[in-house]
Amino acid sequence: MELTELIIKGILIVVLFGVTLLIAMYSTWAERKVAGFIQDRFGPNRAGPGGIFQPLADAGKMFFKEDFIPSQANKWLFILGPCLAILTALMSSAVIPFGESIRYEDLLIPVQGVEINIGILYVFGVVSLGVYGLMVGGWASNNKFSLLGAIRAASQNISYEIGFGLSIIAILMMTGSLSIRAIVEQQHGFAWNLFNQPLGFIIFLTCAFAECNRTPFDLPECETELVGGYHTEYSSMKLGFYLFAEYINMFVSSAIIASLYFGGYNYPGMDWVRETLTGSLGAATGHNLATLVGTIVLFGKIFFFIFFFMWVRWTLPRFRYDQLMNLGWKTFIPLSILNVVVTGFGLLYDVKYASWAIVIVMVIMAMVSSARAPKPAVQPQRT
């Protein structure tokens, strides 16, 4: 590898890392703003215009609080827990393609941390490790509520990982590659996987909610039952790491959803934009600008999904734990296996939109069952 290529790659990795942290930081502010909007109040508006410096103030507060370790806790594991959580959260964005390629003289450098041919499996591996941070931290706190939260988190993550993995298999069958870049490149223009895999998308999205421990799946930190969940005993920046890891996970899963199902950096009319830009500004500048437009489009999709995560959080109530387990094991796993089988038939007989059949059947079944359900008798209002 040449030195210039290495330097550009290094700058790129540092920038992607910084952007990940920045977005995670401002997600906390956006979360409170969205909550304020949905609940018809202002949200943070004191620190800076529109509360824009609120994340900095929060970080300052986190750093200067007392860093407390319970006397009966296992000290090293207590420290290891939040470190593992944030480490695994930061690792997973390495393989996501954030844009096509940067052209420098004759070099074409992909806008991606590292391109490996098993990208999606790497993401899986890292996601499945994320649970250790919660489990180790919860156990090391030496607190019953923390332990219960940790055990809930572990069982929830393991259960939803299966649905998560099976829903991607249909995409892998259609693409024939495990590399995220190859999956994104196949959705060139407007041929997004969403149109072929609607069911897989819904399953994947829901499992991503569960993997991030976001409402309606935030039972590991269910306040009414568990005080604070696995991070009950944590304070200061250790707590901050846990909360920050959640927001980084949210960003990364939004990026993966956008890449797998919403075409990543592809958008309709991208070829026209590229030709016009390279025609009017020269090969190198035009190419880089077209890449930048694609990256901006990808970030638009990512921001939409981050907003969606927040929207759902402030709209839906929490599940009960048995409902959560039933949904994961008895609904998503059979449905995603069915999706794999139907996609296989579709590939065999060259029917591209086979997966829609399941969705249509499901919608009809839901309509029939709701029509046949006994209607609640209308109670006359007492005056």
Binding site: N117, V131, A154, N157
Partner: protein
């Protein structure tokens, strides 16, 4: 020394250290965490051999699923105090005998086994990548592969059968 050799020796040292810590650790949780570290080192060895798929699957299956369940059970049982009742003289003796027999068997096998040598002119560096692995599994070793999957299915059905609540069972 080449960088890969340095990596190899460093990884091997960490692997052996963490593997021996698995056996010697007093706290079961530390033991499990050391075992997870051992699996990571093994994945590192796979990556050094350019078998990325195997490395990722090793992490997903062993570190990501099986060890989580180990940790889960140990946390639930909360085994802090040492259980001396199960360590009678006869079990210790049996463990020593079994371990010794295993050592003898392995030494005998490794003495008899011939190391496969490789030819740099015909060797393809891509042999461990997922495409080649898939071709080999589904073309040359289709029957053993399918039989292994049936075996896994049987194990799964057995687990469901054992865990199933029968009428008259106590509700927890």
């Amino acid at each position: 020394m080449k960088p890969t050799e340095i990596l190899f020796y460093a990884l091997t040292a960490i692997t052996l250290l963490s593997a021996s810590f698995v056996v010697t650790a007093r706290n079961p949780i530390h033991s499990v965490l050391a075992l997870i570290l051992t699996f990571f080192c093994l994945s590192g060895h796979y990556i050094l051999l350019n078998a990325q798929f195997l490395a990722a699957v090793n992490i997903i299956v062993y570190a990501g699923a099986i060890m989580v369940l180990f940790l889960f059970v140990i946390m639930f049982l909360n085994m802090k105090t040492e259980d001396e009742e199960s360590k009678t003289t006869i079990t210790k003796l049996a463990a020593v005998v079994v371990g010794g027999v295993l050592l003898v068997v392995m030494v005998a096998v490794f003495r008899a086994a011939s190391m496969a040598t490789y030819n740099p002119s015909t060797y393809s560096a891509k042999v461990g990548l997922v495409e080649n692995l898939g071709l080999v599994l589904y073309r040359d070793y289709l029957l053993p592969f399918e039989l292994a999957s049936v075996l896994l299915l049987v194990a799964m059905v057995g687990a469901v059968m054992l865990g199933k609540r029968e009428p008259g069972d106590r509700h927890f």
